[in-house]
């Protein structure tokens, strides 16, 4: 606790000193934590002589990452494709529906309960249904990733579009602004911080969607690799696949965060 507080204060001091982005002290703490955890993991596996078909050690995983690099990458691409297409599809549809909801209250009132209901259906249950309908190609995985992106964005986007302050709405009325002007000059901007917070959530969850879709039925992809290595007791490969999956998810998340920092320039900087 004490150390984090000291770190935080140092971070602030560096920023005030004009060293805007670099502030290395902010990165030291998490990096040290990760290194310590990995070292402990290695130590435990070696000290207790745990066989690598139960828990793989970091060294095993590293070796596997190097040895199977080409195969891992070959399986990353389908998953990445499904993730990104699903992310785009789910979010674009969610944004469009949110726009309709905000301008047509009857639609919102009659459809929102249905949306909430569908949202409670677990995605692991939906994936097999989609595979049964659409076969084992890319499409069902894209749809699972889209579905998992869709709900948080729909909810956040509706909230964001309606988050215009009462006085701002009154100002627009005093200025006799049209609905179109209200939408493009005010609602859209007001919604962006809300939109990006759900885009960052769906960046990582759409990866989960694609992987879960692959579990149900696929001949390639990281989800397929996870299932295969589990069946073959190839635990180092399982861990290596997991590492690739989460590095990919993290990069996708950071990309969205970067886009956000470029688009939402007016708000005080948020850290991600």
């Amino acid at each position: 606790m004490v150390t984090t507080e000291v770190k935080a204060r140092e971070g602030r001091r560096t920023r005030r000193g004009g060293n805007a982005r670099g502030a290395p002290s902010r990165w030291i703490a998490p990096v040290v934590t990760i290194v310590v955890v990995i070292a402990l993991w290695q130590l435990v596996v070696v000290a207790f002589g745990i066989p690598n078909y139960v828990i793989a050690s970091p060294v095993d995983v590293g070796r596997e990452l190097v040895a199977s690099w080409d195969m891992l990458m070959a399986n990353l691409w389908p998953t990445a494709l499904e993730t990104v297409l699903g992310f785009l599809l789910g979010n674009v549809v969610a944004i469009l529906i949110a726009v309709v909801f905000v301008h047509w209250k009857t639609a919102e009132r009659s459809l929102f309960p249905l949306v909430i209901f569908v949202r409670t259906v677990p995605i692991v249950a939906v994936a097999p249904i989609l595979v049964v309908i659409f076969g084992t190609g890319y499409l069902p995985k894209i749809l699972v990733a889209a579905l998992i992106s869709f709900f948080p964005t729909l909810v956040n986007m509706v909230r964001g579009l309606e988050a215009v302050q009462r006085q701002t709405m009154e100002l627009l009325r005093v200025l006799s602004a049209t609905r179109r002007e209200t939408f493009f000059k005010v609602r859209l901007y007001t919604s962006l911080p809300y939109l990006f917070s759900s885009l960052k959530i769906s960046a990582t969850s759409s990866v989960i969607g694609a992987v879960v879709g692959e579990w149900v039925g696929a001949q390639e992809g990281l989800g397929y690799l996870i299932i295969q290595s589990t069946f073959n007791f190839n635990v180092p490969l399982l861990y290596a696949t997991m590492v690739v999956t989460s590095v990919f998810a993290t990069l996708f998340f950071l990309l969205i965060g970067f886009v956000e920092s470029r688009v939402v320039t007016w708000a005080p900087k948020t850290e991600f």
């Binding site: 302050q165 009154e170 009325r173 005093v174 006799s176 602004a177 000059k185 901007y189 007016w266 708000a267």
Partner: protein
């Protein structure tokens, strides 16, 4: 009430005429009479302040004049016509308590907003230069700053510049300096009087502050609550221009005491 009767301007001279205005809200807990029997007028190029306890209908009254609310009974005429016509003709500027700036626009772009929406300025009227408006409120140097980079006082200046950019005949201000510290408020009061003299717009100003009301206005409308009514209209016979230290004068103190008595009684 006698003061109200004596100062009621002849309709040719008045920009705003309210006659037996009544406004009731239908709420979950029944009907709420926010305004009742409000009859008053605001002279052209006048500076009138509305003061009264919170909930007495001050904001509601401004909203009726701005065509944001419709009265339930009585009549309201602005510049001799219906408020809606005046709003469509861009003759009304409104300054809200929180500046209501668009966070994603620079100060200058915020001031330009009225020129970009609602068809801009109607033909035949000349808009003001947004840059000149920012200079008028003393923010010429901060045109490219974003709202989050400005202090509360600066944000409110931007919103005043925005309200003035269409050269409105009427400027409505709802507790615009209510959230500011006293020093900033006094300073902005002085500047507002200067802006008023420079632009010649009619100002209706709502405040909680007795000194602010006395310092700024030619006429103070004192309201009472439940239901919102005009209690009395007080003429402020302090000469213009008003130096900052007029607040220390005996006459000022006497008027302020009179207003306080009305508000407490």
């Amino acid at each position: 009430m006698t003061v109200a009767a004596s100062t009621r301007a002849d309709p040719d001279q008045a920009d705003i005429v309210l006659d037996d205005l009544e406004l009731t809200f239908e709420t979950d807990r029944g009907r709420l009479t926010a305004l009742q029997g409000v009859t008053t007028s605001v002279a052209s190029r006048g500076f009138v302040t509305i003061i009264g306890p919170s909930g007495c209908g001050k904001s509601t009254l401004l909203r009726v004049i701005a065509d944001l609310l419709e009265p339930t009974a009585g009549s309201v005429s602005v510049l001799g016509v219906d408020p809606e016509e005046v709003r469509r003709a861009r003759q009304i500027g409104f300054v809200f308590q929180d500046a209501a700036l668009l966070d994603w626009r620079t100060a200058l772009d915020n001031v330009k907003l009225p020129l970009e929406v609602g068809g801009g300025v109607p033909a035949g009227t000349e808009p003001a230069d947004p840059v000149a408006m920012l200079e008028l409120v003393g923010l010429g140097g901060r045109a490219q700053a974003y709202p989050h980079e400005l202090s509360g006082g600066m944000r409110q200046r931007v919103s005043i510049a925005r309200a003035l950019v269409c050269n409105p005949r009427i400027l409505l201000m709802d507790e615009p300096f209510g959230a500011l510290d006293e020093i900033t408020r006094d300073k902005l009061n002085t500047e507002l009087l200067r802006v008023w003299q420079d632009t010649g717009t009619t100002i209706v100003f709502v405040t909680h502050s007795i000194p602010e009301a006395v310092y700024l206005s030619q006429k103070v409308i004192v309201m009472s609550a439940n239901p919102g009514r005009v209690r009395e209209v007080v003429d402020i016979d302090l000469p213009f221009p008003r130096p900052a230290d007029i607040r220390e004068s005996q006459r000022f103190a006497t008027i302020a005491a009179h207003l306080r008595g009305l508000l407490e009684g």
